[in-house]
């Protein structure tokens, strides 16, 4: 391969005057994490509500949950981001649209909310499956003791359901981190975006992508380890979950 490797490039100053190329990548990583965390909070909150709706006896609630999931699951994430970023401001009343367009950090907010809503559909499906996997008698026992529906979910069903779906939720969180990279298309300069700009400025393609790759792998490893600890922390003595 006649490619001129130059690993020292990371310690050379970047043309933006924000320190070295390495600083540039690290700031990208920070933005990736910030976006992913906000998106994950949204995904968990919205996804939990929608997931619960899909398990209620009410027909209307079920249908709302069904439509929510289908809407966000059947469109590419990229198209969804375009809808929120380019289309939504035009569909709103003029003043509101203008305000949206002039919002500072618009790519960040769009990415966090867009990825968050996209992931909320997947969280909802996981939670629905988790609640569905509990024995029917658990809900009955809660009801028979006089707990209301809300109390039954709060104290009996959800604590078990979330424990059961913790492993799949871990991979959904990892997906959230990865999915923030799609926001490069609406101008969010996160980790992949910074690697791309480093490549454009320095022509050191493979160094840039290698570094980004390593940073993603590290992030993954940290998340997986943290979640293992969490799983152990909330594990119930004597209770064997699925696998």
């Amino acid at each position: 391969m006649n490619y001129n490797w130059n690993w020292k490039i990371f310690f050379e100053p970047n043309p933006m005057g924000t320190g070295t190329y390495l600083d540039m990548l690290l700031s990208g990583l920070a933005l990736t994490i910030k976006t992913a965390l906000l998106a994950w909070v949204i995904a968990l909150a919205v996804g939990s509500i929608v997931g619960v709706l899909r398990t209620l006896p009410s027909r209307g609630a079920y249908w709302f949950g069904f439509c929510w999931v289908e809407f966000f699951r059947n469109m590419p994430l990229l198209v969804q981001l375009f809808l929120w970023f380019f289309v939504l401001p035009e569909m709103l009343p003029r003043a509101a649209g203008l305000w949206l367009k002039q919002l500072p950090n618009a790519p960040f907010w769009t990415a966090a909310i867009g990825v968050g809503l996209f992931m909320s559909a997947r969280v909802a499906v996981q939670l629905q499956a988790g609640i569905g996997s509990l024995p029917r008698g658990q809900r009955m026992a809660a009801t028979a003791l006089g707990l209301t529906t809300v109390q039954g979910y709060r104290y009996v069903l959800l604590p078990m359901a979330f424990r059961i779906i913790l492993p799949p939720l871990t991979s959904e969180f990892l997906n959230t981190i990865k999915n923030t990279a799609v926001a490069i298309t609406i101008g969010l300069i996160e980790l992949t975006g910074q690697a791309r700009s480093m490549q454009e400025f320095s022509f050191q393609v493979f160094e840039a992508f290698t570094a980004a790759t390593i940073l993603y792998l590290l992030t993954n490893a940290i998340v997986v380890t943290a979640m293992r600890f969490l799983e152990r922390y909330v594990a119930i003595p004597g209770y064997i979950t699925g696998k």
């Binding site: 059947n74 809808l83 298309t185």
Partner: protein
């Protein structure tokens, strides 16, 4: 708002959107699914082979691919494939690789990791009693796999494989980052040229949504039919 909605720009660009864009998207999806299935089967068999080193390598590959954002992988292969081509053919310079070939290789390599995991889970979902019962009847390893394990495993994983293919269909839109005119890229080109972002992106959303919905409805029906057979 809707008053100024220009349906004509959609009508005018339909041939371009579908003959060029959708053809690219669907061809890429089909070939990548096929290639990913073949390569993914190989990886799954490596992981289940019982040879430690082989399994370890396959496992590393799968974990590696699944840790990276697809966008980054697309960039990787876009820049890497010309050099690999040069290395293979012994050409003096990095060879030129077309946009289609580059994205096809990317998606095959990427999806193989996901397909292999689905297949591994499908094979492992067969209870241990099944191969034991087959051996007890005198079937050898190959016969056990061929007549007992794989037919059941395939039935378990077919719906998941098809669902993953729908995800792949949606993911191909990410070749947008290479300015390739797939369906979304074509829509975006028209949108920029005519200044009709609202119309084109809404239309693209509707098309993707419709196709994915119909496809996943089909998968669900298939799933319930398979469930009844069992």
């Amino acid at each position: 708002m809707l008053g100024s909605f220009d349906f004509d720009v959609i009508r005018r660009s339909l041939p371009y959107l579908f003959y060029e864009g959708m053809t690219f998207t669907l061809t890429l999806t089909a070939l990548a699914a096929f290639g990913g299935l073949v390569f993914g089967t190989a990886i799954a068999l490596m992981r289940l082979s019982g040879y430690k080193l082989l399994g370890r390598i396959a496992g590393l590959y799968v974990d590696f691919m699944r840790s990276l954002p697809l966008v980054l992988v697309i960039f990787w292969f876009y820049f890497l494939v010309p050099y690999i081509g040069q290395w293979i053919t012994g050409a003096p310079r990095p060879i030129k690789v077309g946009a289609f070939a580059s994205s096809l290789i990317t998606f095959i390599m990427f999806e193989a990791a996901y397909f292999s995991e689905i297949m591994r889970a499908g094979i492992q979902s067969i209870s241990r009693g099944q191969p034991a019962a087959a051996s007890a009847l005198g079937l050898n390893y190959a016969q056990t796999m061929r007549y007992v394990v794989l037919p059941q495993a395939f039935r378990n994983m077919l719906p998941v494989l098809l669902t993953q293919t729908i995800v792949l269909f949606q993911d191909t839109s990410l070749v947008y980052v290479l300015s390739i005119p797939d369906f979304l890229g074509a829509a975006s080109k028209v949108a920029q040229r005519d200044g009709r972002l609202v119309e084109m992106y809404l239309f693209a959303a509707v098309v993707y949504f419709t196709i994915s919905c119909i496809a996943s409805f089909g998968v669900r029906r298939l799933q319930s039919r398979i469930a009844i057979i069992r």
